[in-house]
Symmetry: C2
């Protein structure tokens, strides 16, 4: 049985583990993915500016998303929000332990 | 901030609280919903036979789904699976405390 909270042991090794993107559902108009972040943030000075809407839930860990120019949203486990296409944002904090586990849905929502 | 794990206090009152269906995303081809079950099961002798595929994750609680004729799948928090359209199934158990919180995605997946 696949489990959203399960983090493969090999992914925990090392201090430089990369962010993990795992497609759960992929169709021409829809992508549902699980993302595991452990301290990764959007590079300094960069913003996400996405073609599609994104519904995102944090199901484990703590994180902070900043919307342009200066609206900061803190996320606790279970928090979710819709990020409309082209709403510029960046991830400014993700907890390492517990790791951040995101469930993201990309599409025309 | 909306939270997947948050159960409104009013929904906890009484012993006959109904199952709760809450649409999180609804477009012509996609429905993402949160379902809260506390002991509800599919009525005796009935099966779900759905037109659309359903991806479903249990994010809290414990449950059992039975596929026709007799394949039983136990679900723990975080477990997820894809139920193809017309794969007949029924929910045979949902825990009351903790409540079962499901995240379900319906569409052509």
């Amino acid at each position: 049985m696949k489990n959203l909270f399960h983090i493969p042991a090999s992914d925990l090794s090392g201090t430089e583990a990369p962010e993990i993107f795992e497609a759960l559902i992929k169709t021409p108009g829809l992508l549902v993915e699980r993302i595991i972040s452990r301290g990764q943030v959007t590079p300094e000075g960069e913003w996400y500016d996405q073609e599609l809407d994104e519904w995102v839930a944090l199901i484990s860990g703590h994180a902070m998303i900043r919307f342009e120019p200066d609206e900061r949203i803190e996320l606790a486990p279970g928090d979710y929000l819709l990020i409309p296409a082209h709403r510029r944002h960046r991830v400014e904090y993700t907890s390492v332990d517990p790791a951040c586990i995101w469930l993201a849905i990309h599409g025309n929502l």
